[in-house]
C-alpha cells in the first residue's frame, strides 16, 4: 500500500459518556462506508466480545479502516480507533488516544454533558487532539440540541454551533459526521523518511500468527523483513507481515508508513513483549528516543480463583494461559487453599477487569469458579528488616514478626455536581479518605480531590459513588504510593473451623464493623443444615463477632393441591439446584457466592 497520500489519512476516535451512543455511531459509520453488507452487519460491530455487547461497554480497543469518498471528490482513509470506556483501562484509553489526531465528541441531545463527557474530553485534549462535537439522539422527543450546544461551548469551551445533528440509531446525519472528520481532523504529521517510530496501542495473540501488534506509525516506515525493536521491553523480532484493519479481519499490505494505523506480526510469542504504550523502532536504524507516556502496567487488585470442581484445575490453568496471551495485564500464579483446594492467585487492573476475566473464564471456557475477596498488595515490614509483598491474606506472617505494614494509596479526583458534594464527601470519609481540596469547574460542578486507600475503593466504591450521586459523579485515580497503616487480618470461622479463603486484610478501626457485617452476610448465605452452625469473625485469635445459622427444624407443610405435582417437583429441584453450587468445608456446605459476599458490605 505504498503511495498513500498522507494528507488523505484521518486517524480519529469517538469519545462519549456511557450510553450516549458511541458504539452505535461507530456501527453507522462502518455501514455508511459500505464495508459490510447489512447481512454481515451485526449491531455494534466493534464490540467483539459477547460480554461487551451485553454490558454495553467496550472493553478492548477496536480499530477499523474505512474508505470514504468526501464531497470534495477525494477518497480518504479513515482509521477509527474505538476506545475502552472504564477507569480500569484508563491507560489503554490514553494510548489509544495518543494514536489519534482528532476525536468526535458524542453528546446526547437530551442529557447534555455528563460526568464522563468531561473526563473523556479532557483526556482527549491532554493528548492534543482536535475535538469536535456531534449532537446525537436528536430524534428523541426530549432532545434540546440548542441547549446542549450552548452547554458544550460554555463548559468545555469548544465551538459547537455547527456541530452535526444526528441520530446514530436511525442513521440520520452520518454523512455530515464523516465530512466533519475529513475537514476537522488534521492529517497526520511525520515523515516516512525518518527512522521508524510507532506507538503500540494494543496487541492480541493469534494462534497462527503469534502476537499481532496494533500500532500507529508516527515516523518512518515498516514492512516485511524489517527487524524491529520494542524500546521499553527490549524485545526484537523480524516483521512477517504488516497490514490494516478491515471490519473483523486483517488485510495484509506492502508497507506501513508515517501517519498510518495498522498491525505488525513478527512471530512474537508473548504479548508481554509488546506492551501497550511501548515504541516500535527499526533495530538497525533506531529513532533517537521513544514516544512519551510509556508506563509499565501493574496489577492493582488480586484475588484467588478456584475451579468449583477441583478436577477442572488443569482446565483453569490452560484457560488463564490463553487469556494472558491476549491480556498482558492479567497475572496469575498457583496457590492452594485449605477450603478451596488448588487454584490461582490472579492480579488485575481493577475490579471491572477482574469481573471481565471471571466472566470470560466462565463463558468462553465453561468453567465454574469460586472467587475470593479481592485485595491489594500490602507491604509487610518484618522485625528482621525484610519486606514482603502480600497479595494473599493467608500468607500474612505471624503478628509477632511484623514491625509495621503499608498499604497502597491513590490520588483520586471526583467530579460531581454541587448538590451531591456533601454525600460524596461523606462517602470518602467513610472510606478513610484524606481531603486534599476542591475546585469549582463551573457554578454547578466541582472537582473533589482526595487520597484514598486503594483497598477501600476496589470493592464497591463505584457503585456507592453512583448511587450517592444519582449516576452523576465521575471518578479517576492514580496510584500515589505506599503509606504505613494499622492493618489486621480478619479471619472467619465457620462451625469453629477457620476458612482461609474468607480471610481478608482490613484497617484495625473497621475490623469490628466489617467482621460483624461479614457474619451477618454469611448467615444469610449459608443454608440451614441438620445442625447448628456458628459463624465467627476473629482478629488474632480473638472472636469479635458471631452469628448462628440455626439447625434445619421444620419445613412448612404445603397443601399439595389438585394433583399439581409439577409445581412440587420444581420446588424440590430448586432446592437441589442450590446444593450443587456448594463447597463442602468440614461438614458444612457453603454456597460459592458466599466467598464473594465480603464485597458487598455497603449498606447505603
Amino acid at each position: 500500500m505504498s503511495g498513500i497520500d498522507q494528507s488523505k489519512i484521518r486517524n480519529f476516535c469517538i469519545v462519549a459518556h456511557i450510553d450516549h451512543g458511541k458504539s452505535t455511531l461507530a456501527d453507522r459509520i462502518i455501514e455508511k462506508t459500505g464495508l459490510l453488507t447489512s447481512r454481515e452487519m451485526q449491531s455494534q460491530v466493534l464490540d467483539n466480545m459477547d460480554l461487551e455487547r451485553e454490558r454495553g461497554i467496550t472493553i478492548k480497543a477496536q480499530t477499523v479502516r474505512i474508505i470514504y469518498r468526501a464531497k470534495d471528490g477525494e477518497e480518504y482513509i479513515l482509521n477509527l480507533i474505538d476506545t475502552p470506556g472504564h477507569v480500569d483501562f484508563n491507560y489503554e484509553v490514553s494510548r489509544s488516544l495518543a494514536a489519534c489526531d482528532g476525536a468526535i465528541l458524542v453528546v446526547d441531545a437530551a442529557q447534555g454533558i455528563e460526568a464522563q463527557t468531561l473526563a473523556n474530553v479532557y483526556l482527549a485534549l491532554d493528548h492534543d487532539l482536535d475535538v469536535f462535537p456531534v449532537i446525537n439522539k436528536i430524534d428523541l422527543p426530549s432532545a434540546q440540541p440548542q441547549w446542549v450546544k450552548d452547554e458544550i461551548e460554555d463548559i468545555i469551551g469548544i465551538e459547537a454551533q455547527d456541530a452535526p445533528m444526528i441520530s446514530a440509531k436511525n442513521g440520520i446525519g452520518i454523512e455530515e459526521v464523516l465530512e466533519a472528520v475529513v475537514t476537522k481532523v488534521p492529517a497526520p504529521s511525520g515523515s516516512p523518511d525518518n527512522p521508524l517510530q510507532a506507538l503500540i496501542f494494543d496487541s492480541l495473540y493469534d494462534s497462527y500468527k503469534g502476537v499481532i501488534v496494533f500500532c500507529r506509525i508516527k515516523e518512518g516506515r515498516v514492512k516485511k523483513g524489517t527487524e524491529i525493536l520494542m524500546m521499553a521491553t527490549g524485545a526484537k523480532a523480524e516483521v512477517v507481515e504488516v497490514g490494516y484493519f478491515g471490519p473483523g479481519q486483517f488485510i495484509p499490505c506492502e508497507e506501513l508508513s508515517a501517519g498510518m494505523v495498522g498491525y505488525i506480526t513478527a512471530s512474537i510469542k508473548n504479548v508481554k513483549d509488546t506492551a501497550v504504550g511501548d515504541t516500535v523502532t527499526d533495530a538497525k536504524n533506531p529513532c533517537a528516543e521513544p514516544l512519551p507516556g510509556y508506563k509499565k502496567v501493574n496489577s492493582m487488585v488480586f484475588c484467588g480463583m478456584y475451579p468449583a470442581d477441583g478436577a477442572k484445575y488443569p482446565d483453569l490453568r490452560d484457560a488463564l494461559e490463553k487469556l494472558q496471551l491476549n491480556d498482558a495485564a492479567l497475572q496469575y500464579e498457583p496457590e492452594t487453599s485449605v477450603a478451596l483446594g488448588f487454584g490461582f492467585r490472579c492480579g488485575f487492573l481493577g475490579l471491572l477487569h477482574l469481573e471481565i476475566i471471571q466472566e470470560r473464564l466462565e463463558r468462553e471456557y465453561n468453567l465454574d469458579l469460586v472467587t475470593t475477596a479481592p485485595g491489594v498488595i500490602y507491604r509487610v515490614h518484618k522485625n528482621n528488616g525484610d519486606m514482603v509483598e502480600l497479595t494473599n491474606p493467608t500468607n500474612l506472617p505471624d503478628p509477632t514478626e511484623i514491625d509495621f505494614m503499608e498499604e497502597p494509596i491513590v490520588s483520586a479526583e471526583i467530579m460531581v455536581t454541587t448538590e451531591f458534594i456533601g454525600s460524596i464527601m461523606e462517602l470518602c470519609q467513610e472510606r478513610r479518605g484524606r481531603y486534599l481540596g476542591m475546585e469549582y469547574i463551573e457554578e454547578t460542578r466541582a472537582l473533589l480531590k482526595y487520597e484514598l486507600p486503594l483497598n477501600e475503593i476496589i470493592y464497591d466504591f463505584f457503585d456507592a459513588l453512583k448511587s450517592r450521586s444519582r449516576g452523576y459523579a465521575s471518578f479517576d485515580y492514580d496510584l500515589k504510593g505506599y503509606e504505613e497503616s494499622k492493618l489486621v487480618k480478619l479471619d472467619i470461622l465457620i462451625n469453629r473451623e477457620e476458612v482461609d479463603a474468607l480471610s481478608f486484610i482490613v484497617h484495625a478501626d473497621s475490623a469490628y464493623d466489617r467482621g460483624r457485617k461479614m457474619c451477618e452476610k454469611l448467615k444469610d448465605e449459608i443454608p440451614r443444615h441438620l445442625f447448628e452452625i456458628p459463624i465467627q469473625a476473629a482478629v488474632g485469635g480473638k472472636i469479635i463477632a458471631r452469628e448462628t445459622v440455626k439447625a434445619m427444624r421444620k419445613d412448612v407443610l404445603a397443601k399439595c393441591y389438585g394433583g399439581d405435582i409439577t409445581r412440587k417437583k420444581k420446588l424440590l429441584e430448586k432446592q437441589k439446584e442450590g446444593k450443587k453450587r456448594m463447597r463442602q468445608i468440614g461438614n458444612v456446605e457453603i454456597p460459592q457466592k458466599a466467598f464473594m459476599s465480603v464485597l458487598k458490605l455497603d449498606d447505603k
Binding site: M552, R553, K554, D555, V556, K559, C560
Partner: protein, 386 residues
C-alpha cells in the same frame, strides 16, 4: 378395567383470601353458568377417551365449588355420571366453604351423588379468620358442619391451618380440640404458606412490609410446637396420620388424595386442572377466556405443558410422592414397577438419609418423625442427576 380418579376445578370464590394463590376469583352469576356449560362440554368430550376406565374417586375442588348453586352442582355430577363409569362405591368429594352452603344445597349434592364433604374451617377464631380474609366466621363453620351432618353426610373432612398471623399455640390447639369434638372422619392440618403474588407476600414475604397493627406470624419454634402437638392430639383421639398433613379415622383415608401419592391415573377437568394418565402429565390452560373459547368454538386442545415422564422422572416421583405417605414406599413395588431394585438406584441416598435419622429402612422406606419435619430436604435428595 383400569381405575381413574377425576379432579374437577371450580375457579370461583366469594372473595379471594389474602394468602390464596390458587386459581380462583369472584364472578357474576352468568359467568359461573357460562363456565359450567363449558366445563360440562369438556367433560363430555374428554369422556370418550376413558371408555375403558372405571372411576373410583372424584374430587370437586376450587376455589369454592359451593359458590355454584345446588342446581348447578347437580348438573355437574349428572354430567360426570353420563360420561364416565362411576363405580358404585366411588369416593366423591366436594369442597364446601362455610358461608356458601345451606342445608338444602348440601342435600341436593348428596342426592346427586356426593358422599364426602371437605369443609374449609381453617381456624375457629374470628380474628384469625378475618386476618386471613376468609368470608366466614367460626359460628358459620359450626353451622355448616351441622348442616352437612343433618343432610346425611357420613364422611366429612375439616381443614385447619397452623402458623396464622396472630395465632398462638394455645389458640391453635384449642381450635383443633373443638374440631375433634365434632368428630369429623378426616382432618387436614397444614401450615400457612406465604406464596408470591398474594397480598400476604407483600406483608409477610421475604422482604415483606407488615403494616402497622398487623398481627405477627408465629415464630419458628411456635410453629414447630403446633405441628408436633397436632400429631399427638389427633393420634390420642383416634385419628391416624396417613400422610404428612392428613389424619383420618380408620378406613376414612381420602382415596383420591392417596391416589396422587401412589401415582394412580387421574384426569383433571376445568380451568388449570392437572392430570396424569399413563405416565404423561399435563395441565389445562389457566386463562379463563382462552379456556372457554377454545372449548366452545372447538379450537383445539386446552391441554398445556404435556410432559411424558421418563423412567428417571417416574422413579423420582415414585419416591418423593410415596414418601408423603406414612407407610412410605415399598421396595417390592419399586422393583415390580421399574424392573430394577430400589437399592441400585437409591441405595446410597437411603443409606445417607438413614444415617442422619431421617429415613426408616426395611421392606419399605418411610420418613421418620424428624424426616417428616424436613421432608423437602429429604425428598430433594431423591431427584436424580440429569
Amino acid at each position: 378395567m383400569k381405575k381413574l380418579g377425576i379432579y374437577v376445578h371450580i375457579p370461583f370464590c366469594v372473595r379471594k383470601c389474602l394468602y390464596c394463590d390458587f386459581l380462583s376469583f369472584p364472578a357474576e352469576e352468568w359467568e359461573k353458568e357460562k363456565y359450567l356449560r363449558t366445563l360440562l362440554k369438556e367433560i363430555e368430550g374428554e369422556a370418550l377417551r376413558y371408555k375403558d376406565w372405571a372411576v373410583d374417586s372424584v374430587f370437586i375442588g376450587g376455589g369454592t365449588p359451593t359458590a355454584l348453586t345446588g342446581e348447578q352442582l347437580g348438573r355437574l355430577l349428572d354430567g360426570l355420571k353420563r360420561g364416565f363409569l362411576l363405580e358404585a362405591d366411588a369416593e366423591i368429594t366436594m369442597e364446601a366453604n362455610p358461608g356458601t352452603v345451606d342445608k338444602e344445597k348440601l342435600e341436593t349434592c348428596l342426592r346427586a351423588g356426593v358422599n364426602r364433604i371437605s369443609i374449609g374451617a381453617q381456624s375457629l377464631r374470628d380474628e384469625e379468620l378475618a386476618a386471613l380474609g376468609r368470608v366466614h366466621s367460626a359460628e358459620e363453620f359450626f353451622q355448616a358442619y351441622q348442616w352437612a351432618r343433618e343432610a346425611g353426610f357420613r364422611n366429612v373432612n375439616v381443614d385447619v391451618m397452623a402458623a396464622l398471623p396472630g395465632q398462638k399455640v394455645e389458640t391453635y390447639l384449642d381450635g383443633l380440640e373443638r374440631v375433634m369434638d365434632l368428630g369429623p372422619e378426616h382432618i387436614s392440618a397444614y401450615s400457612l404458606i406465604i406464596e408470591e403474588g398474594t397480598p400476604f407476600y407483600g406483608w409477610y414475604g421475604e422482604s415483606g412490609k407488615r403494616k402497622n397493627g398487623m398481627a405477627q406470624l408465629p415464630s419458628e419454634e411456635e410453629e414447630r410446637l403446633m405441628y408436633e402437638r397436632t400429631g399427638e392430639l389427633l393420634e390420642q383421639r383416634g385419628y391416624r396420620r396417613y400422610e404428612i398433613s392428613n389424619y383420618a379415622k380408620s378406613g376414612y383415608e381420602c382415596r383420591h388424595n392417596v391416589g396422587y401419592w401412589k401415582r394412580r391415573d387421574y384426569a383433571g377437568f376445568g380451568l388449570g386442572a392437572s392430570s396424569m394418565v399413563g405416565n404423561v402429565r399435563w395441565r389445562n390452560r389457566r386463562d379463563k377466556e382462552g379456556y372457554v373459547q377454545c372449548i366452545e368454538e372447538g379450537l383445539g386442545s386446552v391441554k398445556e405443558e404435556i410432559q411424558p415422564l421418563s423412567k428417571k422422572e417416574q422413579m423420582e416421583e415414585f419416591m418423593f410422592l410415596g414418601l408423603r405417605l406414612t407407610t412410605g414406599v415399598g421396595k417390592k413395588a419399586f422393583q415390580e414397577t421399574f424392573g430394577i431394585p430400589m437399592e441400585e438406584v437409591y441405595g446410597a441416598v437411603i443409606g445417607k438419609l438413614g444415617g442422619q435419622g431421617l429415613l426408616e429402612d426395611g421392606e419399605r422406606v418411610s420418613l421418620t418423625p424428624y424426616g417428616r419435619d424436613i421432608s423437602n430436604y429429604v425428598m430433594a435428595e431423591f431427584l436424580l442427576p440429569s
